[in-house]
Amino acid sequence: MAHIHLEDGSFSLFFVLLWWAAAIILVCIAIYLLRSEKKPDRRKITLAAFCTAAAFAIFQVSLPLFGGVHLNLTPLIGILAGPAAGSLVVLIINILSSAIGHGGWGLIGANTLVNIVEVVVGYSCFKLLKSSIPDLFSRAGISTIAGLLCGNLVMILIIVISGVQGVNQSTGQILTGLSIIAAVNMGVAVIEAFITGLIVAYIGKVRPDLLGEGRE
């Protein structure tokens, strides 16, 4: 659930453009990978559409936990839609979120990078752990925690590299403050891991083909 909750103007123009450029490059790679498939996977397109709607809906809802936090379901997007389609999904969600006033336009690039990391790590862990952890619920949960942990680390890295305009704090102080935010965020990651585990376990029971698992 990592998301940079800073307003436009927090990063200098150089870093706004830099993170936008990096996000656009990754999205272009995702589009290239999707277009290089000989036959478009209809199930994946449909799942990506549903993931976009569900994640957008839940992303804007602030939960009364730890003073107010939100879920974003990015590892679930990775597990269901895959890393390529998932990268496009998180870009769309970030654009729509900014359009309704949740997050600055200038931070869409940085937030998309953070979310792409969550999607890719969530997907990769889920696939890599397939042989060692056959249980879908716990595998999806562990993948979610791993994805969100990496997303939080990338979020910290982006803010520390960019610096925040108009503040007098040292890098060490900012790093300490952001580490605490990441730690609080991870508490919510547990809830997200539980929800993701339940959803994946249910899909695995009724439609294992959607997970590429095959019936056991």
């Binding site: 449909t46 709607a53 309704i100 006033g101 949960g141 503040v167 952001l178 508490g187 919510v188």
Partner: protein
Amino acid sequence: MNKPGEKRGPLIFIGLMLLVIVVSLAAYGATGNMGIEERFTHAVGLQGERGENEGGGWFGLALEGSPLLYAFMLGILLVACYAVYRNFKV
């Protein structure tokens, strides 16, 4: 008979959850009750302002951003999902 590694996953997951909960509660205790926006501005040293949705909402749940635009965008996404579902027949 249990498959090899069948219990490993739940055990690792429970262990991870407990570890993460302990760390996050300690972090939450160190900072106190703040909204996410407030927590961010405080962490990076910006002048603090209250989180935009604190104190309101429905059973403690609050929407970030404009509720009207949220409903509009969500409506468009749901129509798109229905169209994709009908078209691709998955």
